[in-house]
Every structure is written in C-alpha cells, then in structure tokens.
Symmetry: C2
Subunit: 489 residues, 2 copies
Amino acid sequence: MTAYDDLMAFQRETEALAQIAGRLGWDQETMMPRGAADQRGEEMGAMEGVLHARRTDPRLADWLEAAEPEDDEAHAQLRLIRRSFDRATKVPADLAQALARVTSTAQGIWAEARAAEKIGDFLPTLAEVIALKQQEAAALAQGGDLYDALMDDYEPGATAASTAAMFDRMRPRLVRLRAAVLDKPAPAPLNGHFGEPAQLRFSRDLAARFGYDFTRGRLDLAVHPFSSGSGNDVRITTRVVETDPFNCFYSTIHEVGHACYELGIDPDYLLTPLGNGASMGVHESQSRIYENQLGRSPAFTGWMFRQMLDRFGDFGVSSPEEFTRIVNRVQPGFIRTEADEVHYNLHVMMRFDLERALIRGDLQVADLEAAWNDRFAADFGVAVDRPAHGVLQDVHWSCGLFGYFPTYTLGNVYAGCLHQALRAALPDLDDQLARGDVTAATGWLRENVQRHGGLMAPRDVITQACGFAPTEAPLLDYLDAKFGALYGL
Amino acid sequence: MTAYDDLMAFQRETEALAQIAGRLGWDQETMMPRGAADQRGEEMGAMEGVLHARRTDPRLADWLEAAEPEDDEAHAQLRLIRRSFDRATKVPADLAQALARVTSTAQGIWAEARAAEKIGDFLPTLAEVIALKQQEAAALAQGGDLYDALMDDYEPGATAASTAAMFDRMRPRLVRLRAAVLDKPAPAPLNGHFGEPAQLRFSRDLAARFGYDFTRGRLDLAVHPFSSGSGNDVRITTRVVETDPFNCFYSTIHEVGHACYELGIDPDYLLTPLGNGASMGVHESQSRIYENQLGRSPAFTGWMFRQMLDRFGDFGVSSPEEFTRIVNRVQPGFIRTEADEVHYNLHVMMRFDLERALIRGDLQVADLEAAWNDRFAADFGVAVDRPAHGVLQDVHWSCGLFGYFPTYTLGNVYAGCLHQALRAALPDLDDQLARGDVTAATGWLRENVQRHGGLMAPRDVITQACGFAPTEAPLLDYLDAKFGALYGL
C-alpha cells in the first residue's frame, strides 16, 4: 500500500460516512416523525463530530505529503482532499463548534420570526451569525478578501469582484427586459384543479423522461423540494399544489437535473472526492437547463400541453401557444423561489450585494431591512409589504450560508452557455423536444458535464463542454429572444 | 467533569451513532432503491468501523476504572458499558472482521440456495460461519461453555443448561396438546379478499389502540416485518396479503409490542445503555403478549370481528366464536414464522438443540439436514418436503445468530408469566378487551416492564413485575386452557 492508497482508503470511508449524514438529512425532511426532532439533532451532532475528526485527522497531512499521484485523476483527488483538509484545519475547533451551535438554533429563531413577521426577533441572532462568519472568513482568507473565502466553499475559484462585475453587466439588461415584458398584457394564470395522484404520476413520468434512474433513487414529497445523495442512491423530492401543477412538475424537473448530475458521474469516482458535482454553480446549471432551457422551451411545453389534456382533461387552455405563455408567465413577485426566468437573477443580485456588505461590515443588521426594501423597490418597482415577503424570506443566512446566493445566478449563466453549445451540437433539438424526447440533450450534458464530477474546476468544466469560457451573454441573449417572442417585443 | 461524566458523554455519542446505524437498516428494508445495495454495504461497513473503534476505545478502560457510581442507575449504566467493552475487546479484531465479512456474503448465498432449493450450495459457507462463531465463542467464554457465551449476547445471564432443562419440561406437554388439538376438526380458513388500503387503515388503528405513538414513529411496508430504533424514533413495519388479513394485523400488533417497549422506556435513559430493552427475550415477551395473550384473546377477537364486519362487509364468518377459532386456528406447518401458538415453541426447541450441537461440534453440517428432518418428523409428524420448508427456512444461521433462537421461547415463557400477573392485577381485563380497550393492559406493562429499559437483568425484570421467578408453567397452563376451550378438549 502506497501513501496514496492509504489516503484514498481512508477518504473512501469518510465519503461513505458523509453519504450517511446526507441521507439522515433526507430522512428528516421526508420520513422522520416530528417527535424525533431533538434526538435527531443529537444524532446529527455525533455524526458531524465523527466527520470533523476524520477531516482534520493529522494522518491526512502525512499522506498528502507522501502521496505521489500517477495520473490526472489522482492529481485531482489530491487537490480536493488537500482543499478540504486545509479548510477544516484553518478554522479553529472552538469557532467551528460555535458556528454549528449558533446556526442550528438560528434556523428555528428565523422560522419563528418569519411566521410572526417580527424581524427584530431575528436580528440579534443574525448579528451573531455574521460575527462568527466574519471570524471564519478571516481564518480562511488569511489576509485575502473575506467574502471570497466564504464563496470559495460553494464555487471554488470564483471571486466576489469578478462576480460583481458580471452581475453589473447583467442587471441593466434584465431590468430593461423586465420592464418591456411587464408593459405587455400577461396571460391569465391556470385555472383549475389538478389532483395530487395524477400530478405525482406525471412527475414520475417526467423524471424518467429526463433520465432519472428510479433503480438508483426515489421520489417523495417535501415542503421544500431538494435532491440528496451521490453515487447510486440519489433521491429527489417534489411538492404538490392542486391549483398549480407547474409547481410540482418544474420542481421535479429541477431536482432531476441535480440528481442526474450526481447519477451521471463516472462510476469509477464512486465514494471519492471526484464523485460529487464540481460546484454549486455547475450543479445549478444542470437543474436550470433541465427546468428552463429544456423543460420550459416552447417545443417541450407543446408536448406537455397534449400530455396534460390526456391526463387531466380540458382545463380551459385552448392552444399549445397559450399554454407555453402560461408556463412562462412573467409577473412581479416578492419571493425568489417563485420567480420566473426574467426576475430570478435580480433577486439573487440584491442578496449578493447585501451579504457582501454585511460580511465586509459596511452594512449593519439594524439597517438591513431598509437596505433590502430600497433595493427591491429600485429593481422591482414594488414596495415590500411585510418581512416574510422581504428580508425574512430565505433560510440561507440563518444557516450561515453567506456566499451561496451568487451560485444560483452563476448556474443560470453556465446553463446559458451550455444551452448555446447544446443547440449547436443538436440542430434538431426542437424536433426532439416537441416529441417529449429529452434523451439526446441529457445525453450530451452527461457526456460533456456530468460524468466528470469534480475532476475539473467549475469554470473549466463549462469551458471544456462549450468550447468557450463562460460569460453572461448567451443567457441574456436567450432570455431576450425567448421572452421577446412570447411577448411580441 | 468526573470520570463517570466523561464516560457517559462519550457513550451518549456512541448510542446516537448506533441509532443512525439502526435507521440505515430500516431504510434498507423500506425505502432504499435496489441499485444502491452495494454502496449501502460500504456505508454500513464504514459506520460499523466507527462504532467498533468507539466500543473498543482504550479510554473506556480508564473511565470504567475511575468512575464512581452514585446510585443504582449509575451502577447499571457502568455494568452495561463494561459488558459491551469486555465483549468488544475479548474478540480479536481480525476475527471480528472475518465474521463481518463472511456473514455479510453468507446471507446472499443462503438466499440463493434457498431459492434454488440446493442445500449443498449453502453448507460450505455455513461451515465457515460456524468455525468462526466457535472461535468467537471460545474468545468470549474463556474456558466456559461456548454456547452460553453466544447466548449471552442476546439473553444476558441465561445458560444453555437451564434453558435446555426448561425446554425438556415444556416439550412433552406441547406435543400432547398439539396431538389433542389436531385430533379435532379444524375451522375452515378465512375465505375472501381484503384490500390493502383497508388493511393498512385498520393496522394503523390497531397500532394506536395498542399504544403506539405515531408522533414518535411510523408504519411502513416491509417483506419481513420488524421494529427499529430507540427513544423517540421507533419505526414499525408490516406486510399485506390480500387473502389473509391476519398476517398484516398480527404482524402490526407484534411489532407494536416491540416498539412500545422502546417507546415506554424512562426518558431519562435516552441515548444511554439503559435506554434499550433488557434482552431479546424480554423484548419478545412484549411483542408476544401484545400479539397473543391480548390480541388473540377471545375477548379482543370478538371486538375485532365487529370491526372487520364494519370495515370489510360480510366475509362469510357468522359469529364472533367462529372468528376467534379462525384467528387461533392450529395447523401443522413447516415454517416457524407462520406457526400458531401451539406449534411455535416446538419449532424453536429443535433449532436450539441443533445449533447447540453444531457449536459444540457434535453435529457436522453434512449431517444437519438429516438431523433436522428426523427431528421435524418426530415432533410434527410430517416429513419435510424440501429444504426451503426445512433447514433453509431461517436467515439466522447465515447471519451468525447462534444463541438467538431460544430467546423466542424465553419471550413466550416470560409473556406467560406476565399474563398471569396482569390478569391478577386487572380482574376485568376481558371486559376491557371486549370493548377493544387495551389501555390498562399496556399501561401495566409499561409501568412494570417497559419503563425500566436495561436497568435490571432480564429474569429480574420479569420477577419484579410478576412477583415470582419466571417458569414455563403459566404459559403451558394458558395454552392448555385456551386451546382446550377452543377445541373442546
């Protein structure tokens, strides 16, 4: 056994234990009886303790020192292990524990404050979270930019400055498109009742059609849909609103995108550091291209319209064109997770600017609500009516997830690039989508993105797949073209 | 922090991790996609490695040495921790690993041999398992009886000699009762179709009626019903055969008995060694008294008959008396898990004698099938027609579970004792059962047995609850009286 072999054997067990921790999270959101919550917290704490001890095990330093990688794959494995070890050992144990403790209670405090619409109940806790995240960022950054250090957890190699520059280029075009679309009459929303069993049946068909492998996963209900797991056990969830079937169908397709990424990774990487997606941004590129560029394309929604007529009977929509406009209905709204393609990135950009200012110390929590509401009014032209529609809507900050929000828009940008390359590679894609056939598209994504797992840096994955370095232009061009056509701009 | 506090804090994390491992087992039997099996094996292996390292952690020896228990409860905690530590450290690591490896593949080999009815395919593996179990027993027994050492894992303090003596006293009376009953005409079996949704609805009602707390558990389907977990997350499973609703209902009540034991333990013992049942035998006493002495009593089945008429309509049974006889139908059969109350313990006793001989080396695997078939013919008066109906029917030996079978009959014996004490404590029990009201009975069991968890040795739990030391007489008297009345003996 070489040092590399020893290291990989140790790492394999760590990855296996991490899968168990992830599956406990899945259980918690789908199966766990509610009376088990406190006990589960203690179980998760014990599991995190085991994982933390392994991630900071001093033998890792020796193995990393002695290991001699024989190929690119081994180089990449070592790069990821070193990255994880450096991160885990840079943060003092007492700080890591304080963060775990505070964020675990902060989530409950946030949920109660949101339900009561009392932002003041949450702000002291948020201030505590931010102070700890600033300390953590300082430990990680070692003199560099604090926000970069946090963002690096989710999007390795991305910097706040380059992201901000890209967002600044995107924002005027999105604001302009938004205003032009809202000047036109919007289609009426769907009006009908769509039973849960039939929604779930169609969801399962959609999942299978988009390449989800039910022998290596399962579909359940959850309040907030998510995908969970790697390798051969990748589970997805959806939700059902009986007046709004698109909620269910597009949640499913979105999570199928995430799940297919994990399921599509080279099986040789199973339970190794390479056996996970390259970053949150690349992950989101898969969920978004499945959901939007493919699933909400006029070609595919035409097929979906006929399916829904077969499954639900007449629901008052007279043509595939009308159906497509309803699916792609643009309307102002307070809530990020319900936003359409035109509005979505504007939600992300304001969070990115606000959280950068919070971490930098340029914005204090006492001024956060006003800053949020001002920015929202500027970008969306609407006054926030209550905290749950504003600064209290997202769970992220209570969990300490600073630097995560921008990966949503990076994912959309990557999806835009991949979509351009996909269209070039598959000239008859619309003919296929019009038959409800997504096989070639998902096959191209698996071959060019998914199978590589963590082998390359995020931007390199996209660059290699597309033949060009990622920029915002393809996404913005796609949005202008699609919504220009739908709204007759 | 005293040494005792340090020890208990460490132990609490171990118990929490053991709960996680248990829940993975639940997931595997109820939720896991089939393509995940190999990956799950690796995850479980990593988890077992973590648990084994904790159970043999050298700090345990120091803490156990230095700890000064302040009360009976602390004494009992230390007793159980010392027991686990001694056991874990007595078995050499390479032997423990070999056992884990061989038994994990043996289960698959057994399942295939059973499906193919080829006992020869399983015997070499079984010989390997037995050789390793003999080594393990020798390491544990340190000069004592090998089988005692194995049995001690499941029923601390029980010995093979005293168990054999009791079984020898029981067997003639059971054989005599069996012969007398089979001389009489048997009731016709149930004949009808009972839909799955209605069976599951009634199962849920039965579970709640027997005291199962759905806020701390859940009911799912599994091929082989089981109960899983401790503390505030104790899940049960059942199965549905649409022509045989009793399979579902009594599987549910049986697992509810196991689950209520865990749920009924003093909450102060949560995630400590005391927070589990006292032994497999005491556990089985709870599942059996719920299922048989309560659930199959003429009083309760009378209530159940009316419920089933309400829920399923007329199903061709004309009176509660006829219904009770069908529920308690005695018939010869090859399969232990399908056996009625009269036959069940005869199945257990032959396994006990055979496995003792195997461990002692008095019986070789080459002669096992003949020994099984001879004994079966002697006790049941029928020739075994094929291996799946004989020596290949149970999974236990492939898993290395030698010394486990006798706990089933010990559980029945304990249930007989508890039932006698329960009847004395609740003179109007039959009136309650006739109303479908099990509250007082399960309350008595919770108060006198369940809440103590692992505080006392198994026999002491029963002795304290009953006011007398456990013997086989109450069970045998109960069986004679019940089946004498049902069959007019």
